[in-house]
Symmetry: none
Subunit: 202 residues, 4 copies
Amino acid sequence: MTAPTDRRAQLAEAAFEVFTSRGYRNSAVADIVAAAGVSHGSFYNYFTNKREILDAAIDYGLESLGPQLTPPTEPAADLDEFLDAMTAPFRALHEFAMTNDRLVSLIVFDAAAIDDALTNRVIEVVESVAVDWQHQIEHGVQAGFLRPGLDAQVLGEVMVAMTLVVLLPAQGGAPLPGGLDHVISQIAEFLRAGLAAPAPHA
Amino acid sequence: MTAPTDRRAQLAEAAFEVFTSRGYRNSAVADIVAAAGVSHGSFYNYFTNKREILDAAIDYGLESLGPQLTPPTEPAADLDEFLDAMTAPFRALHEFAMTNDRLVSLIVFDAAAIDDALTNRVIEVVESVAVDWQHQIEHGVQAGFLRPGLDAQVLGEVMVAMTLVVLLPAQGGAPLPGGLDHVISQIAEFLRAGLAAPAPHA
Amino acid sequence: MTAPTDRRAQLAEAAFEVFTSRGYRNSAVADIVAAAGVSHGSFYNYFTNKREILDAAIDYGLESLGPQLTPPTEPAADLDEFLDAMTAPFRALHEFAMTNDRLVSLIVFDAAAIDDALTNRVIEVVESVAVDWQHQIEHGVQAGFLRPGLDAQVLGEVMVAMTLVVLLPAQGGAPLPGGLDHVISQIAEFLRAGLAAPAPHA
Amino acid sequence: MTAPTDRRAQLAEAAFEVFTSRGYRNSAVADIVAAAGVSHGSFYNYFTNKREILDAAIDYGLESLGPQLTPPTEPAADLDEFLDAMTAPFRALHEFAMTNDRLVSLIVFDAAAIDDALTNRVIEVVESVAVDWQHQIEHGVQAGFLRPGLDAQVLGEVMVAMTLVVLLPAQGGAPLPGGLDHVISQIAEFLRAGLAAPAPHA
DNA sequence: CATGAATGAGTGTTCATTCAT
DNA sequence: TATGAATGAACACTCATTCAT
């Protein structure tokens, strides 16, 4: 019925739907093949075990996550552009998390329960985002609009950590106080004051 | 072997060890009773099901976490005291997480996969910590050493999120760049610049 | 709290309540001791096992059944008295079964599922009732108002079997068509025609 | 070993053997699969639970019962034919019960202990037999060889009840006094006298 | 005789994985 | 490559019975 070449993709997509709606441990291989409309035995022609299709399902999910997460690679020219670039992912992540809460849950919470390989994979994604922010900050220091002496690596990770604020509401946390725009503007002001170079004396 | 009165505690402790080393879903009741040196049937004299002992195991783990987590209830008198109070939990949390990494993993990562009740419990702990920080900030604004216009609620949650920086290394993340002291001093400087009231013009 | 001498009776009564409301196999010793307000361990001071208390519970139940079941021992003097004596137990049994349906169910249906000893006990009760009816019929033949040539033993058992008609409604069967009085009068007419000696030619 | 198409039937047959020899509650799924020479897990490919295979096992047993139970559908032409038709099932039932005593026990005695659905199923079988007898009687009244004024519905149920006489010996009761033929002839005479229309005056 | 904690064999059920066709 | 029946180890949970106090 489906072209044989994308049986694997078809199964991965079905697994994504099943895993994100039931969680990894609560999902049976039988659920996945049923969702894919494929025979039970066929599963093992494409994946050696249940664990393996989890990677494929997460890949499938991440294909839509990636672009929104990455901040612009062009370094900001001045402080205002910098703040825009730093806060843009907060908005994107919040919206992504609100509409894909089960995927976030799958990646973040199921991962650690399954094995170290998956945990490390998640951590790598997180670290790579931190590095993007780190570069923005390094450039801002060099360009002179950020305070000298900033440790860009530490602050890149601080930025990553701060995204938790906009992710938690999607995972059952309290709604953002004052709404997303207000929270982002507070963060922007916090960053402006916290990171900007002191105003030169007139 | 153990005083009969705390069989329940004995089982909870064993469950804590088992859950933190294998994860909740990968642990069998048989593992717990084996670790406790108790018969299989006895388990159900003390807990009505496997889910119930998870609460007890987490309680057991949290008894040592609680005190270290809470920031001082005395409001800070000036900016330096404030920064000390704000950053102290980072050190405590880092040390706790480094020595109790499996408990953190159990609480943070297993919770969501199990129950909404447990997820909510975790979120409540987190929110309560956010509120403590929020009060510190509110007081600092009133006392005049923090910038007016700060939204203490938002920034309290930002603080909670930032703790992720010192928690991740215990969960398999990269080691803290420059060490804990360096990271904390960077955060302190960030907070000082980001939150302090502008210096009055001489 | 209770006189120690009737602990056994107290347990038997509790067992009767528990067994008749839940069935033997679905009742736990824990249920019985809870209903009796007695400690779990005490049970085995009075009964060697769960099976044994079933006998005691049935004894307890039968104490109220016995009198209503037995037809009058005085032999009937004529055909009308005979028919009254033969049909009276139908009314009694119907009423007993309607108000004690769970006991009937326990005795009749649980018995066979448990062991042959209990089955035989039930059958003995039934046979003893059959013998009572048999004697009535034998006497009627001798007195001349019943047809000669009747096999009183066979017809005694037929009478026992016929009681099933008035027992089934209590066990979930259809209600008696026309009501109990109508059914009994039909049976009486059936017996009159079926058993009476032919009217002497005038 | 067995044609794959009737694994379900194979299991049902094994369950029938197990249930009729041990009773439903005393039989484990493990016993059934062992008797069928099938793996434990296979059971749940064919039945969703233990309760479900009981229905199949009873169906299996009833396939041989059904035909013998049903009285002829052709209405009797005269009193002698009527008595033959009425008593024929007694012989059939007796023989069935003697050779299938454990099935009868399973159906009659286990049913009530299990659930209402099964109890109702048994009662429906019984009622349907009663209706067959009822029709015979109705026809006999119309044809004039049975007494007018008979309530065919009541007497149909009385007939069903009377079959108990020939069923009990298979369940551990005393043997039929005088043998089956004698008992049936006694019942036939009883019915003849009890139901026949009065002989017209010469 | 009273207690209730301890026991452990037994239950029905699930599911990832295999393999003959 | 496709299939789906077959597998069996593992699971959470029950409960009649024992026994030290």
